[in-house]
Symmetry: C2
Amino acid sequence: MRYGGIEAGGTKFVVAISDEHQRIIKQIRIDTEAPAVTMPKVVEFFQDNPVSAIGIGCFGPIDIDPQSLNYGYITETPKVGWRNFNFLNVLKQALNVPMYWTTDVNVAAWGEYCLGAGKSSQHLFYSTVGTGIGGGMINNNQFYQARSHPETGHIPVRRYYEDNYKGSCAVHGDCLEGLAAGPAIEARAGVKAKKIASDDDLWQQEAYYLAQACMTYTLLYAPEKIVLGGGVSNQAQLFPLIRKSFEHQLKNYVDVPPLEQYIVHAELGDQAGIVGALLLAEKVYNG
Amino acid sequence: MRYGGIEAGGTKFVVAISDEHQRIIKQIRIDTEAPAVTMPKVVEFFQDNPVSAIGIGCFGPIDIDPQSLNYGYITETPKVGWRNFNFLNVLKQALNVPMYWTTDVNVAAWGEYCLGAGKSSQHLFYSTVGTGIGGGMINNNQFYQARSHPETGHIPVRRYYEDNYKGSCAVHGDCLEGLAAGPAIEARAGVKAKKIASDDDLWQQEAYYLAQACMTYTLLYAPEKIVLGGGVSNQAQLFPLIRKSFEHQLKNYVDVPPLEQYIVHAELGDQAGIVGALLLAEKVYNG
């Protein structure tokens, strides 16, 4: 038994196969170029390494409504060539196996849910904070989705009192992503995030924004745990600051678990997405 | 066949029975006093008017997790006597019929979903904007809930550029409820909301806050429709302003249905809650 996984990102694809014990046997990286260049390489990989099912996490927005005529498409992306691309169908035409189709952030959420920081939680909210901000909610073994999947990175936020940065979101300017994703941190600091001192005030400000977002996620999703992944999860000094600011902002309005267990960093690092995709292949194979 | 409904609010209970066609046969109002005064009146009503099942929508926060030791309790309310009150169990001891237990806002959401403004929607977000603000998400015939039910009225919001009002939320001050619920509108105006001219700038400001909240609900819940009930649903001039501000804030980041169909006012008025409770009685009876 072999499972396949695809983590389709805006700059690279990670493609892998695992055995029946979910050990990864082979994993490659393919640059994201035009679909006509990238997709045949993906297909070729699985022709050389046959699998029984494939889990796919794709950059978006994507259409995940099985009732929709555009189910399986990438929809509104600004990425040339990929807009309105029938991703799932191209794969299904070439590789006739069951496929699980969801967002890139959802596969990472699934990885953390099954094997990472969320592995004992029934109600997990996962957010990646890196070049962008995205999130996925897993509730009793299912991704939250309704008319579409969530886009949790672009919520409006109030500003930190001394923050005058205009924001880096190309659409909204100073939404959460525009004020708190990696590019915003680095634009203010003038250096890469990893070069910012761990006691710099910028981390206090970052913590304020992420805590505010965690408050909104708490009030709307009522998760059991919030896992933060992406580049931010490497900034260990942030987490105590986030928890403190969260407590200050929420003011105990709703009960939450002890904060050291409630707002935590991801554990699987860069592997969360591909691991989740492989686990979702197993899930779709088993029905 | 008779169904029973209870809409338990902080100032009054509405209690009713309906026939098998969901026509309301009898409906009474009971003031919310101490549990020892109010609950026996509820029990007496159903002893005089026997029913096969009861749907209950209760003010909260309440415990709705069937696995919890406190399932069926009102938990953190500041209302004297009702804090940590075992509401559901008191009723079950007295009236041995199946009961559906959820929040007051959820029963109103259910009423609008089945018979009101949301009746053709599979993914409905309902919010009441009155003395307070609360919301419920119905997704494919089920209320969204995870570790607990949502508390959508207390999300942080950015301020309208010329609004200096401190906010009326006793806990957070200037959260959404603190800036946009009825008491905040009336505190700024110095008169009752119904006496504020329909072209007053205050409505523009109110629309900004509600549109901002609708943006957050859209990004996290991805509903098919947003229904706004409570006192605000009587302010017809607000809805075009909300839609315009919503468009301005969201900037087409995600696809939504045409706004005239997407953000709409509730249709059942004060009856939404009790109608929803009666329909939930039928739902629990039919398993």
